[in-house]
Amino acid sequence: MAKPEDLRLDHVASLARIALTPDEKVRFATQLGDVLAYVAQLNEVDVSGVEPTAHAFPVVNVWAQDIAEPGLSVEDALRNAPEKRDNMFVVPKVVE
């Protein structure tokens, strides 16, 4: 398991799309370092041959039949939009 100092805070925050203040960087590095040091004890556990648990009670083939149902009106769809135009959501220009 990685060591706490491997956190690469700038890289990870950028993957998570969160701008951190210099102060947050300092605090988070310490706090998350503590947490990572704590979770490092999982390395003690012998997990060889153990299947991972993704679901506590897995069942298979949980699906719905393909029947179209009414959705939201365009007004409801856009009701919470921070910015809208021509029945669409507006975002700052995407640079391709």
Partner: protein
């Protein structure tokens, strides 16, 4: 009289409403009055819609009078006209849904969560938006972006969390019962700290559709109430398979109240397991003593007490914080200011908008967890963290299932300490995480668990007893809890507000 109504159980109020001793509107008015009186001090609510609540109550009275006219003479439905508070992560159509986050401060849900619809179908009144730690991340409700809820038993202390608003509202008489969500103890721990009953059902028992996701494989909605019977009543109303939640389990829903009563009648002697790992260092002596006294009480009731071992307990918090943060890093990616929610005014392009919106919209604990979760899933680290944690999860699950070969239920403290002071652990996330040490295993294993009042510290702070049941056997779990509740009166005490 009015305050008395506010501290009554669902069971008593339901009989009173049936008899015509009070109307749903009168009851609702009493609850509103009580809320206005105390919530300035308690801070359980993010918001409430008085007019909407009264309209729901009037509609309930209307339904009741119609069924009276129809002359069925049958007793009304148990939740008809009862105000139920909802944690502000459960969607109610036309009402705010904030998760106590700046990110969703002005968001109004266009749809009902499945549990909301079920409550409406049962005739209950959906009452208010109850405070929580932002996006349910925390154990004190201090992480709310809007207010810190106070513990009604000591306003200087936290009510626990993340469903602190739900626990405090029920304890303070601001709701007759409430719904919360529990990912690592977020129902049971605040219930313990506020002297109410709080239950996390088996994972999959209650639909998560319309519950703002924190960690999808661990989250479960459950009731807060003033008695085990009331919790059973709410659980019956909200349980069941939902075609909108692929993880909700397609099993019939028993009448938990009736099932529980039948088991009590049968005089069944339960075999209860005491896991030695839950009574070690870190357990407050007063809490330990109260829990030991509760175990003795069970023994007196004729239950068989056995020591059991859950050897992987010490790894539960570690596994939990990897799995929960990984899932939350992905679940919270949708809060980007594009379709709804907060959007930074300073963003210059479509990438910048994410960084600034999320920096401004999320509080520090949410950011920490998203970053931790992003890290544990990032390239090269997945196997070491996430996959390993999921394997440890398997071992923790096995521990419980192994123990259930010998016992019917497991009895533990809910929280290692009673309510702590506001700010006490705010600067130390790890100390806060360790507060969930007794509740987290239940989520990892997907089991049902309940916290019931089991005493007070000398300083007058409530202590909770956790009973952990077997998968989908909530009836037995409730019966075990009710057996203790019946011979004690801790739940009857009211906070000195």
């Amino acid at each position: 009289m009015s305050e008395e109504l506010c501290h009554s159980t669902i069971a008593d109020l339901s009989r009173l409403l049936d008899r015509g001793g009070v109307s749903a509107v009168e009851l609702m008015r009493a609850v509103i009055a009580r809320t206005k009186e105390v919530d300035g001090r308690v801070g359980a609510f993010n918001s409430f819609d008085e007019a909407d609540a009264l309209a729901q109550a009037a509609a309930s009275d209307e339904r009741r009078s119609r069924s009276r006219t129809a002359g069925s003479g049958a007793p009304g439905r148990p939740l008809e006209g009862i105000p139920i508070g909802l944690k502000d992560v459960i969607a109610v159509a036309g009402q705010p849904l904030t998760a106590s986050s700046r990110m969703l401060e002005h968001f109004v849900s266009p749809y009902d969560a499945t549990v909301t619809r079920k409550l409406r179908d049962a005739g209950a009144i959906c009452w208010g938006r109850l405070n929580l730690d932002e996006f349910a991340m925390g154990s004190s409700t201090e992480n709310s972006a809007f207010r810190t809820t106070s513990n009604p038993w000591d306003l200087e202390r936290v009510p626990g969390g993340s469903s602190g608003g739900s626990a405090a509202a029920v304890a303070a008489g601001e709701a007759i019962a409430a719904l919360g969500s529990d990912t690592g103890g977020s129902i049971r721990q605040p219930a313990a700290l506020c002297n109410v009953v709080g239950m996390k059902p088996t994972y999959g028992r209650v639909s998560r559709y319309g519950l703002i996701a924190f960690a999808s494989s661990l989250d479960q909605i459950g009731p807060f109430a003033r008695s085990v019977e009331d919790a059973a009543c709410l659980l019956s109303a909200i349980s069941g398979h939902d075609r909108r939640d692929s993880t909700s389990v397609d099993l019939g829903v028993p009448d938990y109240g009736a099932g529980m009563a039948a088991l009590a009648q049968s005089g069944r002697k339960w075999r209860l397991g005491i896991p030695k790992e839950y009574f070690g260092a870190g357990l407050d002596p007063e809490v330990g003593a109260a829990v030991q006294a509760a175990i003795d009480e069970y023994r007196r009731l004729g239950c068989e007490i056995r020591e059991v071992s859950l050897p992987h307990t010490k790894y539960a918090v570690g596994a939990y914080y990897i799995i929960a943060t990984a899932e939350c890093s992905s679940n919270l990616a949708r809060y980007d200011g594009v379709r709804y929610g907060h959007r930074s005014r300073d963003a210059t392009d479509a990438i910048d908008i994410y960084f600034k919106t999320r920096a401004e919209g999320f509080g520090p604990e949410v950011k920490r967890r998203i970053i931790l979760g992003t890290y544990v899933l990032s390239s090269g680290y997945y196997d070491a963290f996430y996959l390993r944690a999921q394997k440890v999860r398997t071992l923790i699950r096995r521990d419980f299932l192994e123990a259930y070969k010998d016992v019917d239920a497991i009895v533990t403290p809910t929280s290692p300490t009673p309510a702590f002071r506001k700010g006490e652990k705010a600067a130390n996330p790890l100390a806060m995480y360790l507060n969930d040490i007794y509740t987290i295993g239940v989520n990892l294993a997907g089991l049902p668990g309940i916290s019931i009042p089991c005493g007070f510290t000398r300083g007058g702070l409530p202590i909770g007893l956790q009973v952990i049941g077997q998968p989908f056997r909530e009836t037995e779990l409730l019966a075990v809890a009710a057996a203790y509740e019946k011979v004690t009166d801790w739940r009857m005490r009211r906070p000195p507000l």
